[in-house]
């Protein structure tokens, strides 16, 4: 016991395993939102897209019997829902805040609508854990890092790919330029509308996949309000990670730890309310935002400068 906290090996390993699992959930959605915001489009509809992905993921999963198809179905559903935001905020220049919030309503409603008949469905289409041969036997590390659902490994691959595209390709350079100063990117020959649409839809697909991960692995079943505000954590995570793919991944593990810890407080004899643990991601994000704003006095903020600003070419 340290400071009144009881540690057991099984308890700590279980905590860390759950941290990675929740981290995967948060990372997929936050990565999508990062890409969208990098292109200058704030999408506050993550919760809605995630919910739709969760419902569709479950439906496709149990109807086809394949969690892989479920995951894909969730991603496609998330992408389709996000198209509405793209059309309103990018195409018609509507306010991104309002449009994103309306998308939350729409997504949550749509999820309940399609999931209506599946609420008490006993069927399951769950991913099995995959053990990486040779590495999963390493004490501690093997269990925590190398025995997870394929979605976790996929998330790592997608994260690396996203980093590569954003930072090492012409498309990524253009996308980031669109999110900083759209007029400059436009003058340089990048299509602002096309890149922003692509970024929003990619974000939607990843949020949808994140939701599907809930129903094809983490929870395994569908019920109303399954996402339980995790979409908002993903929005916070983007800021916490200062809009950088790698830092968002670290933040996902940290925020994942708070989610994992919340249900294990009694296991460790920790004498504080789980609600305070639950508040941590949001309070930490506010703290990070304050620090960012302080430092932004002498240098540019890490936030893409064109976030929230609709772009329309000057009429001439």
């Amino acid at each position: 016991m340290i400071l009144g906290v009881t540690f057991t090996e099984a308890g700590v390993i279980g905590l860390l395993v759950a941290t990675v699992q929740f981290g995967t959930l948060l990372y997929l959605a936050a990565l999508g939102e990062t890409i969208s915001e990098k292109a200058g489009v704030l999408n506050l509809g993550v919760e809605g897209m995630m919910a739709t992905g969760a419902a569709m993921g479950f439906i496709v999963g149990v109807e086809t019997g394949s969690p892989w198809l479920g995951l894909l179905g969730g991603a496609v559903a998330g992408a389709i829902v996000s198209l509405i935001h793209a059309a309103a905020a990018v195409g018609l220049g509507a306010d991104q805040v309002v449009s994103g919030l309306a998308l939350t309503f729409l997504g949550l409603g749509f999820a309940d609508f399609i999931g209506d008949g599946y609420t008490d469905d006993e069927r399951r289409a769950r991913f099995a854990d995959v053990e990486i041969p040779g590495l999963d036997d390493i004490p501690w590390v093997g269990e925590v890092v190398f025995r997870h659902s394929p979605v976790t490994y996929l998330a790592v691959i997608i994260g690396v790919a996203a980093w590569f595209v954003l930072n090492r390709t012409a498309v990524g350079l253009g996308l980031r330029a669109v999110g900083e100063t759209a007029s400059t990117a436009d003058a340089a020959g990048h299509s602002v509308v096309r890149l922003r649409f692509a970024a929003v839809v990619t974000g939607g697909a990843l949020a949808g996949a994140s939701g599907a991960y809930l129903t094809t692995y983490l929870v395994g079943s569908w019920s109303q309000n399954l996402t339980a505000g995790r979409g908002w954590i993903a929005v916070a995570l983007v800021i916490f990670g200062a809009w950088r793919v790698g830092r968002v991944a670290i933040g996902a593990l940290l925020f994942g730890l708070t989610l994992a810890l919340k249900s294990r407080l009694t296991l460790f004899d920790i004498e504080i309310s789980g609600q305070f643990v639950d508040m941590l991601p949001f309070l930490l994000t506010i703290a990070v935002l304050v620090v960012i704003s302080f430092r932004a006095r002498n240098r540019p903020s890490p936030a893409p400068a064109a976030i929230g600003i609709a772009y329309r070419r000057e009429e001439r």
Partner: protein, 511 residues
């Protein structure tokens, strides 16, 4: 004879209410630096935007290397080998130099070190000193301009247009720019250099085309064969100034005294550099100068919208150097800012709410405003200054430019100020509007108000002002008596030529 690199033939470009180009021509030979000269509003930038694909000309032909082309976007022009460096840079501040240079023309997969090396090579080839790995926000304006030029060179621009490139440069940087341009033309490229500074044109350029009033007045003069005064004459024209009957001024006591004033701009550079001037009651002092030479910072500082670095501002014996704008207004200072919409007026708010912007504190009844009184005040301004409006509740933006200015001027004058500072009060107005505003300003002077008037229109200052001060690079470089000074004299001073003040006692004013 070689085929010209660029040929613009009879270009017309009209905007609502303005004709920017009326049959302008330009021919640029390959391997030369070609100056496009003209006063502000002569149509230089519009003409170049037609060449760079930003605008489509209404009429006329654009030929590159003898081939007629039609651009529908800047990207088209870039593809055809035309690059333009605008006055306002188009850079991504958080990107590195190399990322900015390759943006839009990058290899599919970007090897960070690779593009940095390529950009460094490109810079070295043209004699640039640029660190490709530095983020642009850390760079000075001069360095950012080099990034813009590198962008054009990266795309292998055969024709490079520079719009007032030296405006943001130190003298040393300007010399370095000249050397870079020489290297470019030595490779057979062409450079078009938009300017109104004659000394630069003489030192950098091979040929010059002069625009006035949107049309070409002199094409492809060999700079070596004409002298600066001829070019100045062509730029400003030799129209006889119609002497508008203005009564002789009867200057009284000093209404506004500015002593050794210095003001820094957002970049920390001295926008106003040790300026001293005095405006007495009942006289109009004009400030002439090319835009961007510190006039805005000077008037904003006098009005209290810009903090003062050093020096003092006195209005009617009251030191207001650090007073907030409202206290200066109460001390008798009225201000018509250059940005009517956005500083002087709030375009989305109703006419009444704009009319009461200065006086609303006197209209308060507890926490509420006396709207009847506000309406009366508005009616009074509208009546006295003949402002034409639809409804007092309509957004201000529904008014025409002339009426906006009348409302603004009227609001500022209802407090019967002792000193009126008016920045570009007639710019953008139609002829009738210009006349009306000018009449109001003269009337104000005749009533004993001191007027400090900034204008880019030299004819206006010659007609109205009792004294003209010329401002260049934040300093007052000369004082002229409009009754004896010629346009050419003042024009030469404005473009940084020799100081030919018509008054011997300029020591006190020009520091």
């Amino acid at each position: 004879m070689t085929v010209p690199a660029v040929e613009l033939d009879g270009i017309w470009k009209r905007f609502p209410g303005v004709i920017a180009n009326s049959g302008a021509n330009l021919t640029v030979r390959p391997g030369t630096v070609h100056a496009v000269l003209g006063e502000n509003g002569a149509g230089k930038t519009t003409l170049m935007n037609c060449l760079a694909g930003v605008y489509r000309p209404d009429e006329g032909a654009v030929r590159l290397g003898g081939q007629e082309l039609s651009f529908s976007s800047p990207a088209d022009a870039i593809a055809a080998g035309v690059g333009m460096v605008h006055q306002e840079f188009r850079l991504v501040p958080t990107f590195t130099v190399a990322e900015n240079v390759v943006l839009g023309a990058a290899p599919r997969i970007i090897d960070q070190g690779g593009i940095e090396a390529s950009v460094a090579d490109l810079a070295a080839r043209f004699g640039f000193d640029a660190d490709p790995a530095r983020p642009v926000w850390q760079l000075s304006m001069g360095e950012r301009q080099r990034v813009e030029i590198l962008k054009a060179l990266w795309r292998d621009a055969n024709v490079l247009i520079l719009d007032e490139p030296t405006a943001v440069l130190t003298p040393q940087e300007a010399v370095e720019l000249g050397e870079v341009l020489r290297r470019m033309v030595a490779e057979g490229r062409s450079v078009i250099f938009i300017s109104h500074k004659l000394d630069e044109v003489v030192s950098f350029c091979d040929e010059a085309t002069v625009l006035r009033g949107g049309a070409t007045v002199a094409a492809s003069l060999s700079v070596a064969e004409v002298d600066a005064s001829e070019l100045a004459q062509l730029m400003v024209g030799d129209v006889a100034v119609e002497p508008v009957p203005v009564a002789v001024a009867m200057p009284g006591d000093p209404a506004l005294t500015v002593d050794a004033l210095s003001v820094r701009d957002a970049r920390g550079l001295l926008a106003v550099d040790d300026v001293s001037l005095e405006v007495r009651s009942g006289e109009i002092v004009g400030i002439a100068g090319v835009a961007g030479n510190g006039q805005r910072a000077l008037t904003d500082a006098i009005a209290g919208l810009e903090p003062v670095e050093s020096g003092t501002i006195t209005v009617m014996q009251h030191d207001v150097t650090s007073a907030p704008p409202q206290r200066r207004f109460r001390a008798g200072l009225a201000y018509v800012p250059e940005d009517r919409l956005g500083v002087g007026l709030a375009p989305k708010l109703p006419v009444t709410e704009n009319a009461m912007m200065r006086a609303y504190r006197k209209l308060r009844r507890g926490p509420m405003l006396a709207w009847d009184d506000a309406d009366q005040l508005t009616d009074q301004i509208i009546r006295e200054f003949e402002v034409k409006i639809g409804s007092k509740d309509a957004p201000l933006a529904s008014l025409s430019g002339g009426n906006l200015q009348r409302l603004l001027l009227g609001r500022e004058l209802t407090g019967e100020p002792d000193i009126l500072v008016a920045s570009q009060p007639t710019r953008g107005l139609d002829v009738a509007g210009v006349r009306a505003i000018q009449r109001l300003i003269v009337q104000q002077r005749d009533n004993g108000t001191g007027v400090l008037m900034v204008s880019e229109d030299l004819d206006e200052l010659l007609a109205l002002a009792d004294r003209i001060l010329v401002m260049v690079e934040g300093r007052i470089v000369g004082e002229f008596d409009p009754r004896v000074a010629t346009r050419a004299d003042i024009g030469a001073a404005m473009i940084g030529g020799s100081d030919r003040s018509t008054r011997p006692d300029t020591e006190g004013v020009s520091s």
